[in-house]
Symmetry: C2
Subunit: 318 residues, 2 copies
């Protein structure tokens, strides 16, 4: 399935010129990544009928859009590295990230516009509405950097917009292209939306409590860059006045050793039992995802690969 | 006609939140401007049938896209002022220009996607292909900043992509939405494309030879910022070795008084008779535009407003 997607993405023909516009697009697409979103589209489609050209076009449009957001978000967030390589705005420059990123956004629309499935109108509307929501999510994420009073509900809505709705769109898109019943399409959406939330909360959790060998990133990265994660937001919300003051002063402390910062923030998380709270929320999201998955009116055998994929994403064994 | 467009643009409903995302969009749309592109769409449509909701939707999509390019181009080009007000990246910041600009690009697709005219597929394809060309034009424009050997042909192709094709798209869009014959749609495209080229060359010309009272900008602005205009490119191409050296050293001279720089560059333009060459090219473009206009199979009475508008753009009396 991943092969099909890679082949299709390799196949998209960009003009040779201007090189400065198209080389960064190829660079971004060739970086690979897990292709989670197009895989979701293909898995969902496969539950109803075998994938065809329209499935691949729709899946690729979502992956193209996702890669567009990486170019622009890395620039906005000042992230230097993407998938182990220099981000586009570092390998080239800010203007390249902006303009090649814009071109990828247009190319994503070009792809979804070339989807000729029976419900192409619905597919385009879903795509457009979703991409606007993703912009809103990124805006909230940037707003939250300036705030220390973000609530859990606000945080969950932000990650829903920034991350989950695109996964939800990807799964529902498979249903739409396969002309699945509306109820199934909506269940696919809700299922992937909850999986996305669980995935993001787990990402926040693993940054502090993960096994570095398994997680693939250094532990405490979010703490060091002062990222407003689910853990930090809940710690700030539930802390005593004293703990809150210590947390805020630690976050603003630029001279403290990194290991000490991570260890002292983690101590506060532990004192407040943020790990249990986070695991509870993840379990809730996971259960909700399962309920929506169960509502999909397709036999268990046919559904299984989609659930297995979701479990793999969350690092759970089936 | 302008009223209809303003009313429609005012009418587009954006969510109240997040404010940081949508306020800059309203700020940009409320700046006004000449609305040249949507007027072209409405004028072209009117030649075949009265404008309706679909015409306004299509016209607004092009204006929305145009405003998106202003947010991103001003950021990339470091332009501080737009229509007498601070550019979005100055009034807010770079990230705002990027993300609100992205949202405007998506909103432009949302608009064209809501056009339900009979040839909506063709309208969307034209829109998408055009917006990709505009990105290519901006890339060439940025590339040219680093070069001193840009040819006239390269320059014309750059301004065609960066400026003309969107005007051409706007005019043809009116024809498509009105379900005009294909030959007319193509003539509308070619007509507006040539008018766009003439307009851009005239803009380059007036920067040096214009009447500041009429032109509305200070004379010599392009010379001071070393912009690769039609005049400079031709001067570099036709200059003697000595003149070329003087031109290049003047362009790189950061200590010379502005008035002296303008006057000495203009002296070289005069010695090479660049003004006549430019006027010749403008006249050629104008004549070609007229030929395409004449090919539109509609009675003169009905066609007249479109030609009058083109003449107004070029500051010519009819």
């Amino acid at each position: 399935m991943l092969n099909k997607i890679e082949q299709f993405l390799d196949h998209i023909a960009f003009p040779a010129k201007p090189e400065g516009l198209y080389e960064p697009i190829t660079y971004s697409l060739e970086m690979g990544g897990k292709r989670i979103r197009p895989v979701l589209t293909l898995l969902a489609h496969n539950m109803y009928k075998p994938c065809d050209e329209n499935t691949l076009v729709a899946a690729a449009s979502i992956e193209m859009y996702h890669n567009h957001t990486l170019l622009h978000d890395d620039l906005m967030d000042g992230a230097e590295v993407r998938r182990g390589k220099p981000a586009v705005h570092r390998h080239w420059n800010a203007n390249t990230a902006i303009l090649s990123g814009d071109t990828m956004l247009i190319e994503s629309f070009k792809l979804i516009n070339s989807c000729t499935c029976r419900r192409a109108d619905e597919a385009r509307r879903l795509f457009i509405d979703t991409t606007i929501e993703v912009c809103e999510g990124q805006q909230y994420d940037m707003n939250f950097e300036q705030r220390t009073d973000v609530t859990e509900a606000e945080y969950l809505e932000m990650i829903r917009l920034k991350t989950s709705v695109l996964l939800a769109c990807a799964a529902k898109m498979g249903g739409i292209v396969a002309n699945a019943p509306e109820a199934d399409c909506n269940a696919l959406y809700a299922f992937a939306e909850k999986i996305g939330l669980a995935f993001q909360l787990q990402d926040d959790y693993l940054d502090v409590y993960g096994d570095p060998a398994v997680f693939g990133k250094k532990i405490g990265g979010d703490i060091l860059c002062g990222k407003k994660t689910f853990l930090l937001i809940n710690a700030l919300e539930h802390a005593s006045a004293e703990q809150r003051e210590e947390l805020l002063s630690l976050l603003n402390n630029a001279v403290i050793l990194p290991e000490e910062k991570i260890s002292r923030v983690t101590d506060i998380y532990n004192a407040l039992d943020i790990a249990t709270l986070t695991q509870q929320r993840i379990a809730e999201m996971y259960d909700e995802a399962r309920q929506h998955f169960d509502a999909i009116a397709v036999s268990d055998d046919v559904k299984r690969p989609l659930w297995t994929f979701a479990e793999t994403l969350l690092g759970r064994k089936s």
